[in-house]
Amino acid sequence: MAAGTTTAEMTSAAPVTRRRTPTGDAIRQLRKNKMAVVGLIVILIMIFIALFVDTSLFTFFTGGKAQPLIAPYHYAEVDFLHANAPPLTRTEEGKFYILGTDYLGRDNLSRTLYGSRISLSVAIVAATVSLIVGLIYGMISGYGSAVRDNFMMRVVDFLYGFPLIIFIILMQVYFKALSATDDTNPFVAWLIRIDDAMGGIFLVFVAIGLLNWLGMARIARGQTLSFKRKEFVEASRSVGSNDGRIIRKHILPNILGPCIVAETLAIPGYILLESFLSFIGLGANPPTPSWGIMISETYQAMRVAPMNVFAPAVALTLTTLAFNFLGDGLRDAFDPRLAD
């Protein structure tokens, strides 16, 4: 075992064998793990809710104001006279609050459903960004010379030592200034529109992904190192394949599986990071709901209006459990040595 082994490497997937695992095998293996299947179903339901909680998926293209679709009410619709209402409250105005209301009289069910949008998308955005950056960095590091490898890994060591919160505050300042400028570039304008829709934390989580690729880089590097000496890679090289082709055709397909698995297991971490940032007040702008914000807004009310905190907390716990089980199942599936 070489120097510089860390937690990230060890918590990651167990080493993958030289054989390529046909995807079919993996799926069959995955289907044996019932909890992983349940996890997958839960995640798909959550994604469905996030997409269709209101009509904004359509109005994003057609323009106009989005209307609630799955959610009974809009997340910012207040009802001051029915604040902290208990579940199953029916008001004189004919409103029906299945899970009660929060301190401004907003429907807990609606906010929890809307919350899936922020909580899931920040996690998936950060995971995707970190997967891409980490994969590329790790492959370059692992595939190249020992000197380059050593240097690139020292850079990773160095980035590990940073306080994340400073970055997050800086990025919020920076992105706020960015959104204040009238950028004519349609891509930037589009990004800012998404960012606004998500309460100003979309870009922050893009940036978190850009910072959190370190563990991924280490996994990708380790995997690349072990594959680049394999017979079939040597064979490919001997018939004249260049580096690009070897990486594309032989290294990447082999290491992608374990990396995706590791990233799936990292998603709950991002969801919890969002709730931590909300707790210290660096989450999305109000009144945008995310599970983290809803929890940190209402945990003090646990005793007087328990549903205010339990609704988002159960949603958050279910989702992180689902990702954990799916990730564990995927890892088993991608590692043929663990098959029974």
Binding site: V78, L81, Y103, L104, P286, E297, Q300
Partner: protein
């Protein structure tokens, strides 16, 4: 090979031991207040368990700026004067009486000289008088007050609150490095007489010297220990209590100073021998400790208001609400395009349903505010229906909310934004659960009153937020509407309308200037008015402050006063305490049998 498994086994065994050990003891409720809790035996000292909520950033009087520090300092030190807990007037403390010269510029304070410096002796567990080299007891004297004030003004001390003393002749010059500290016009004529000259005739000066910044400090100890003179092992003090222990970020203990004349002379004095302070920041945790009988007094978390104060409260009459000399307000950055029209600003202020906000959301007995200056100050016009009547209910002679919104709709339409059409605003506030609630409620109120308006809320981390509303910050970084609170340094309108918003004197974050095309004349009038009020006779100044508030809140409509703060506490039935702006720990009484009975 065996070695390796030993490691694992050892770890597991250790862990098992740890957790079996901690599963065993059952704790009787009430005996869990930490190591100090069991001091209270039958004849033990009267002990109050109280949460300071945070580590006091300092207990050096010259450096104190916050309420936590000041609560501790006012218990262990005395100033020339002290504020009456009822009406905030200055009453004698170290100074027995004082007089103002005919031109109003010079103050003479006559001091008592029988208050000794004391120190807690950890070995004997007693508070002892400090003695000089010759063995005689050292008393607090005028030269030490002179030293205290000069030290606070000295730029080397770098006191945050030195500017409070800028009213003293020479203090500002010394503090900004343009004059000598020796030239500050504070002179001890003898041990019992102190003379102070001010730059203008400030009627509120006796209240200013009640602030810790102007307290006497022990020169010898400060010079001996430097920055750490305030640690429990080093500190000498002279107040009704002395510090016996300070465990940073965790707890502090104050014990009664038997040598303080207050105990014998002040009829309001209480009976508490020991204060065990803890520093719990989380309000819900503090409340849980109160319920678990680990504290005798606690704040009431916002969400518990109904439970504590509602009908049939399980807490009986343990809840207490008292006014607090602070005002919560929204300010407009008047140079921002969206809010540059005073009619728009008034319409927005009118559409804030203060009563609903206070009754349905805050629930802490706060008062809806129609003026900036809090009712507890000299020169206030709070609840006066001639000032912003649309912010007041009909009961108080105001218009009520429904009528206010109708007026607002008209103003909004006149300004070219019918129903708010075309108006986009950003409310900025710093990170805090409470601020977020209020911002979201006001966003909803504005949207209800002006359906086409677009209101965004932007939450910023404190430092970033304050930076963005500084006057020199780039305009595009500023929100249109910003949130802040203001608490009185001393109970006088000057500390409000002049020191906060006068464009020549205050921080003026609302950015009003006399060349504003819409309100320039009003700004000029305001600027002159609050300055003149400083030297006017108290009777004359009342009218001037009223006019200033009318300008600020209604005609210029540069701020939206929202509510006047309250202190909301829950107190065990066996503790009788005051609910003033400062705790006044020396006036609390505790019934030990009640506390023991739990």
């Amino acid at each position: 090979m065996y070695k390796r498994s030993y490691v694992v086994m050892l770890l597991l065994a250790l862990a098992a031991m740890v957790f079996s050990a901690c599963a065993a003891p059952a704790v009787p409720a009430g005996d869990s207040s930490g190591s100090d809790g069991d001091m209270a035996g039958d004849m033990g000292p009267v002990t109050v368990r109280y949460n300071l909520a945070t580590e006091p950033p300092t207990v050096d009087p010259a450096l104190s700026t916050d309420t936590t520090s000041s609560a501790v300092i006012r218990s262990i030190d005395v100033g020339l004067t002290r504020l009456n807990p009822e009406d905030s007037s200055a009453e004698p403390s170290l100074a027995t009486d004082w007089s103002q010269s005919d031109d109003g510029l010079t103050w003479t304070f006559n001091l008592r000289t029988d208050i000794p410096w004391v120190k807690y002796n950890a070995d004997s567990g007693e508070v002892e008088e400090v003695t000089g080299d010759d063995g005689s007891v050292m008393y607090v004297t005028a030269p030490q007050v002179e030293y205290g004030i000069k030290r606070a003004c000295d730029p080397e001390t770098a006191s945050d609150y030195a500017y409070i003393l800028y009213v003293i002749d020479g203090c500002e010059a010394a503090n900004i490095g343009e004059g000598a500290v020796d030239d500050i016009a504070v002179t001890a004529l003898d041990d019992a007489t102190l003379e102070i000259s001010t730059t203008y005739a400030a009627s509120f000066f006796p209240q200013i010297v009640s602030m810790p910044t102007a307290f006497p400090t022990p020169q010898g100890v400060i010079e001996e220990f430097g920055d750490v003179w305030t640690e429990a092992d080093n500190i000498v003090s002279n107040g009704p209590y002395a510090m016996s222990e300070w465990i940073h970020n965790d707890s502090m203990q104050l014990v009664k100073n038997p040598f303080s004349p207050l105990w014998a002379e002040d009829s309001r004095a209480g009976n508490v021998d020991v204060y065990n302070f803890v520093m719990i920041e989380e309000a819900s945790t503090e409340f849980a400790m109160y319920e678990n009988n680990e504290l005798d007094d606690s704040t009431v978390p916002q969400d518990q208001m109904d439970a504590v104060f509602g009908d049939g409260s399980a807490y009986g009459d343990e809840g207490h609400i008292a006014p607090n000399n602070c005002t919560y307000f929204y300010g407009f950055i008047t140079k921002k395009e969206a809010v540059s029209d005073p009619n728009v600003r008034r319409a927005l202020s009118m559409a804030v349903d203060r009563v609903t906000l206070v009754d349905q959301i805050l629930k802490g007995g706060q008062e809806p505010a129609n003026s900036f200056t809090n009712p507890a100050n000299f020169g206030t016009v709070a609840f006066d229906p001639e000032v912003a009547p649309w912010a007041l209910t009909e009961d108080l002679g105001g218009t009520g909310y429904a009528a206010a919104v109708e007026m607002g709709k008209q103003l909004m339409a006149d300004a070219g934004y019918p129903d708010g059409e075309g108006l986009t605003l950003t409310i900025g506030h710093n990170v805090s659960e409470g601020h977020a609630r209020i911002a979201q409620a006001i966003q909803a109120m504005w949207t209800a009153a002006y359906p086409a308006i677009q209101v965004n809320i932007e939450t910023q981390e404190w430092g970033v937020y304050l930076d963005s509303i500084e006057n020199d910050a780039p305009m595009e970084n500023k929100p249109d509407v910003y949130r802040l609170g203001w608490c009185a340094d001393y109970p006088h309108a000057n500390n409000w309308v002049h020191e906060v918003f006068n464009p020549d004197a205050g921080s003026n974050r609302i950015m009003i200037t006399p060349d504003d095309p819409a309100i320039g004349d009003l700004v000029a009038e305001y600027t002159q008015l609050t300055k003149d009020a400083q030297t006017a006779s108290p009777e004359d100044s009342l009218a001037m402050y009223k006019r200033a508030e009318q300008l600020l809140v209604d005609e210029m409509a540069a701020i939206i006063p929202i509510y006047f703060y309250t202190t909301v506490r829950i107190t065990k039935p066996w503790l009788n305490r005051l609910y003033a702006n400062d705790p006044y720990f020396e006036y609390w009484t505790l019934d030990q049998s009640g506390q023991e009975g739990m």
